[in-house]
Symmetry: C2
Subunit: 204 residues, 2 copies
């Protein structure tokens, strides 16, 4: 379907804006716009205002760089968490994923990316200075690498490890192996190889 400018520029503008969102084409953008047109004006105002305040009012935690409403995010200001552990992640979505497991009670540190010479991302582009400051302040007993299981993630792990290996901090990395529900024949050979090397005592 072509989109000729026959239905006015306000609709056209909204379609253009929605189709700039990741994975959204013009047809879906039109569907969004027509959906909003049918909703009451106050609801559409709330929609637009929530987008404005998302950008204007959202802060980044001065300690861990997580998204936050205040100087300190809800995790860094939660006294019930284990302040001796820092889990290093690429982005905010990784915090959400790890928090949804309910298996970790330490703090986080959001790098905002991983080292990638291909994409021109060097260590200085990442939120690393803050990390080293946090580790220099002492009290940290364990650093957990939870970066993507990719070449770039591994490179970043090695880089950070080299900087902090003398600090008497335990450094761990997320276990790699066969995912729950995976069939062995479809598991890639590197993962399968690591999972046999790192096999564990069987527990009932």
């Amino acid at each position: 379907m072509r989109f000729d400018n026959k239905s006015g520029k306000f609709l056209e503008d909204a379609i253009m804006q929605f189709s700039s969102l990741p994975g959204i084409g013009k047809k879906t953008a039109l569907r969004f716009a027509l959906h909003l047109l049918r909703r009451p004006e106050t609801e559409v105002e709330n929609f637009a205002n929530s987008i404005l305040s998302l950008k204007k009012d959202t802060k980044f935690c001065t300690v861990c760089n997580n998204i936050s409403d205040n100087e300190l995010c809800s995790l860094c200001s939660d006294k019930t968490r284990d302040f001796s552990k820092i889990c290093i992640v690429e982005g905010i979505h990784d915090i959400m994923a790890l928090e949804s497991t309910s298996q970790y009670n330490g703090l986080y540190h959001v790098l905002g990316g991983v080292i990638s010479p291909m994409e021109g991302i060097s260590p200085s582009d990442l939120n690393l200075a803050n990390l080293f400051t946090r580790l220099d302040q002492g009290n940290i007993q364990e650093v957990i690498f939870a970066l993507p299981a990719t070449m770039e993630g591994d490179t970043t792990n090695y880089f950070i490890n080299r900087k902090i290996e003398n600090k008497n901090i335990e450094i761990t990395v997320l276990a790699r192996g066969v995912a729950i529900g995976d069939e062995l024949q479809y598991t890639d050979e590197i993962t399968l190889g690591q999972s046999i090397i790192n096999r564990k005592p069987f527990t009932k």
Copy 2:
């Protein structure tokens, strides 16, 4: 993935708003929100403002009910079009679909729905009074039914036909038949039946 309120209420609000769009779940909504967070503030303001003006500034054509920036839409104010034909459609997206064929040069009339006793949509909920006024003003030689090929579309066609059949206006309906690219074995029997009844002289 659960979405605990650990990344602030502004993000949460934006996720809630985006996930109210048709077909958008919480994960995609989060992706949209994080995407906007990475964009410059002016771009995000433009995004929000285009949504606001979509709702506030969009008018509906006083003649045909198409979306418009002015009193008259670009089609109804286009002197090159054939003012003797009115094509009746359910929604604005149908105008876009028909316009994209470049096969029709008349005007439109947007009903804003079809008669549906199941969903409680009666003739009085539709933009019908305006249609009858247009037809009473004369000059219209042909009305084309381009409503959905469903029970509700057919009901609406019958309803309008009964009201206007005495007005000496030619009433036509979109051809139904085998769609381009369709295989006969997968075409439903009603469509196939109609296409053999309405067969046309073969032209090379």
